[in-house]
């Protein structure tokens, strides 16, 4: 382990995972032996704050509950907000007026987001995508979100368990989160905002002394032009064109067997027309999934060293984002060596099949490492996404692999009244993270 800069180093780190159902909300708290210059002996980093589906049978607002707990756990002062990417399940809390007010009162001093969230990038989804590539990509993403908005409108009111219901949920997750984004933009203006890409300095160390933060993703377009492509070789403005093509689509035409459209005469043509409703739903789902993938791939991937402990927080990054750090970056070999020894892993994308790349997992091996046990934290709620076993979130094969390799804590296994899980570790020495709440 390389020596950290001279000065105070946290002696203890606590990671709290709040129960938000389907979403992510993590608080990293660093405790110092002695008070720092502002008189506080702790520093707090909030990583994501969103939820799309609360845990089953929970009546309270999970984001408001989490906000209150964050206020308590930070003793009223939050140092850094990290928003890994702009999906609802990672930032909706900032769009909830009550919850946002609580967070604002904590007076965050830095807001860290991926480079694609730079407010200066113009996001008029209908404008022609000329200009430099970051602006163009931001507009493309906005067009993708507009496509999702259209699909969400088309599927409104669909039965939750139907294919249309599933499509609607996926589309809703992509919607622009104007209130949350405005809150974050405002918070960044009042303090400081940083928009990071792979290899940049995080700026977090200035506020949280004695730690080292490596930004492994997302790559910029110069680093990996592939992240801007929705699919290999897809034309530019793919989503805009797709969105425009849906102009005449009506909600009724997505209902199988309820064809008021021509031909009215029963017969083979009417039969296949009815069947095509389902095909159309499938087609829209594939389109919206490309938006979902692209947004996931804007996720910040942070690797944090504190003393002898290493924490990995990859948001929802998928392989297209990950492969920069793992394979293409000039320092990818060093990255792989660092990633092979992780003490705490925030499970990517709620345990879905596509966000813990196997090339990453292979660095850890299948068997537990008795010398350096790894803790994994997974915030998830089953039954929200995935129609089949193969696409279900969380993905069973990944969960079994994690259960075998790591000490896995998951929000979906918490009792009804448990609002968070906390693990803690001394930063020096080999003792692994241990459960501190709920009482083990």
């Amino acid at each position: 382990m390389e020596a950290a800069a001279a000065g105070p180093v946290p002696e203890r780190v606590v990671v709290r995972m709040y129960q938000v159902g389907f979403g992510d909300c993590f608080l990293l708290s660093f405790h110092y032996r002695q008070a720092l210059e502002d008189g506080r002996a702790e520093r707090h980093l909030l990583v994501d704050f969103g939820s799309t589906h609360g845990p089953p049978k929970t009546r309270v607002s999970v984001v408001e509950r989490a906000a209150a707990l964050i206020a308590e756990h930070t003793s009223g002062s939050l140092d850094v907000i990290v928003v890994t990417h702009r999906h609802r399940d990672h930032l909706s809390g900032f769009g909830d007026p009550q919850a946002a007010a609580v967070i604002a009162d904590l007076q965050p001093r830095l807001v860290v987001r991926p480079w694609t969230d730079e407010p200066e990038l113009e996001r008029d989804a209908t404008a022609p995508t000329t200009g430099d590539s970051p602006a163009r990509f931001a507009r493309d993403l906005a067009a993708g979100q507009a496509l999702a908005e259209r699909v969400a409108a088309l599927t409104e009111g669909a039965r939750a368990s139907s294919a249309r219901g599933e499509l609607g949920r996926l589309a809703l997750d992509q919607l622009p989160n104007h209130e949350a984004i405005e809150f974050l933009d405002e918070a960044a203006r009042e303090s400081r905002g940083l928009y990071l890409s792979a290899g940049m300095a995080s700026g977090i160390e200035e506020l949280v002394p004695g730690i080292r933060v490596r930004v492994l993703g997302p790559p910029t377009l110069e680093q990996r032009p592939e992240v801007a492509r929705q699919r290999a070789n897809d034309p530019d403005e793919f989503w805009l064109a797709h969105r425009n093509a849906l102009a005449d689509l009506s909600p009724e035409s997505l209902e199988m067997g309820v064809q008021s459209l021509p031909p009215a005469t029963p017969g083979p043509v009417a039969w296949i027309v009815g069947r095509l409703a389902r095909q159309q739903v499938g087609s829209l789902a594939r389109g919206v999934r490309t938006v979902d993938d692209a947004l996931n791939n804007t996720s910040l991937i942070l690797l944090i060293d504190v003393g002898d402990k290493r924490l990995l927080l990859p948001g929802d990054a998928q392989i297209e984002n990950w492969e920069w750090a793992l394979k293409h970056a000039p320092d990818s070999q060093e990255n792989r060596a660092l990633l092979a020894d992780v003490d705490l892993y925030k499970v990517g994308h709620h345990g879905s099949r596509n966000a813990t790349p196997k090339s990453l997992f292979r660095l850890w091996g299948e068997e537990p490492d008795p010398d350096r046990p790894m803790t994994a934290l997974m915030s998830t709620r089953p039954g929200v996404h995935g129609e089949s076993v193969a696409t279900a979130v969380p993905r069973e094969t990944l969960v079994s692999a994690l259960e075998r390799r790591t000490i896995l804590k998951r929000t979906d296994k918490l009792g009804g009244d448990q609002a968070f899980v906390a693990v803690a570790a001394e930063t020096e020495g080999a003792a692994p993270f241990a459960l501190v709440a709920p009482e083990p």
Binding site: P128, R231, A232, N233, D234, P235, D236, E237, L240, A241, H242, N244, A245, L246, D248, L249, S250, S253, L261, P262, P263, P268, V269, I272, V273, R275, L276, A277, R278, Q279, Q280, G282, S283, R286, G287, I319, E320, E323, R353, N354, T356, P357, K358, S359, S388, V389, A390, R395, E396, T397, L398, S400, A401, R404
Partner: protein, 581 residues
Amino acid sequence: MAQIDTFTDSAAPEPVRRARQMTIVAQDPSVRVDERIVRAQVAVPVDRLEPGPRSHRLHIVDYDATAGRLGVRADLTNPADEGPLRGWSYRDRFALADDEVLEEDPAFHAQNVYAIVARTLAQFEFALGRRVEWEFGHQLFVVPHAFAEGNAHYSREDHGLFFGYLPRSDGTTVYTCLSHDIVCHETTHAILDGLRPRLLEPGLPDQLAFHEALGDIVAMLSVFSLPELLDATLGKPDKQGRIPAEMVEPDRLASSVLFGLAEQFGEATSGVRGSALRRSLTLAPGDAWRDDEAFEEPHRRGEVLVAAVLRALLSIWTGRIKDLIHHDALNRRRAAEEGAKAAQHLLTMMIRALDYAPAVELEFEDVIDAVIVSDEVLAPDDQHDYRGAVREAFAAYGIHQPRGRTIDLAENAQRFTYEHLNAAALRSSRDEIFRFVWQNLEALGLKSEWNIEIESLRPAVRVGPDGLIVSEIVADYVQVVDLTVGQARAITGLGVPADLTDDVPVQMWGGGTLLFDQFGRVKLHQRKPLDDWNRQSRRLHYLVRQGRFDTRGRLGFSMGARAGMSFADLHVPDEHAGEDW
């Protein structure tokens, strides 16, 4: 020269035409020579056509689910032919049409898909010597503008092929129904599903890979069998129409012609096909793919088979043109024609092999086995050593013909009992085939403890190497056993994944193909025994790795009709196979 008197006998009957020449886009509208879309005239079997067009096998329906619009039914018949025979007439109104018409006229799109699907089906029927049935009813729906998406797929449940279109922001549109290779590929899924529906069941990774590979192989060889296209990729000829001999060396052909075609495959539609084909071409020989998790993904795995066939094609093609080279040059058109012939021959070999391939639990080794055995039956002499070329090409990728998987039963003819059997009934009754199996269980090496079902029975008639008719019967049987993991663990030799709990229900499959000769005598037995525990272990481990449990938590059970849906998602190209869980 003596003058021969000619006269016309108006009463003589005109020969009935077997095929019509229809204009299609040769490969893709983006493939142009002299800035004009390359067209081809292809032979399509004659059928009675209704507007759509709709024939006895196909029904083209121009419904756009995204726009909610039902297009006008295209009438391909000849308007000059009034009366009851109108349906039998045809007029190719697109032979001289402008590029704009080909690109934008829905009636041409309908003709294009109709012609390519019908031609592909005819190629299968020709090679197999019989009619090929769909997995459902009689008429396959083909929807040329199904939805706004650069994607196309086959759906068993919906009895159709669906071709999307991709609107672009500049107002133009890319139509997948105009890409020869895409139409061929999807048609092959539909045909193969009719022939071998069990290949979509949860099985070894080779099964789905074979579905994808055959689609690509048929697409590529079909496009290849049009000399119009090959000609253009061979480089500029001299005044005599000749090109230097170095242009047709195997490596050169691979990089110029095959790579050239791959570049153009689905060029305008996200390179769905092209990228796979390009990867196949660059896949280094060897069997490293077997240990590479990325190659468990069906498309990636299929590329191995495609690579082997491409290798065989180059070998056969260069073998055929050797004699055309004089003074270090050869006629370009002739070289292209030989390439087209080689492609056609290889295509027939690949398709014919399907009858000799197992109905369940298919592995790549079975493919090479079936290709060789079926060709041995039909062309015992193999003057040009095509089998050697194919065998060698597959071996380069570590796929070897297995010993003893197909058993020649003619040598042990005396062991079989034909008492009480009726040779005529054998040709039509699955019960009669079952009776044969039941009477000869031991001689066939089968056990009655597992359920045996004759799944299909297909009489086939072909022309043998001596020009005489060969009439055979092909029968598939399937064996299934349902058990729990606990029961499976009790079987010696069967390795069950350690983390499965004892109460998980498991279904295991076996089966085989029996070939009867024209006298109703059993001739060959292609076997995938249920009690091949090594294979069953590999399958269980693979299914567990893939998490292929059904909604009731069972492993390896038949998925029934739902299986067909898996295709839609498969067609999104995956550059990162092997990274997902």
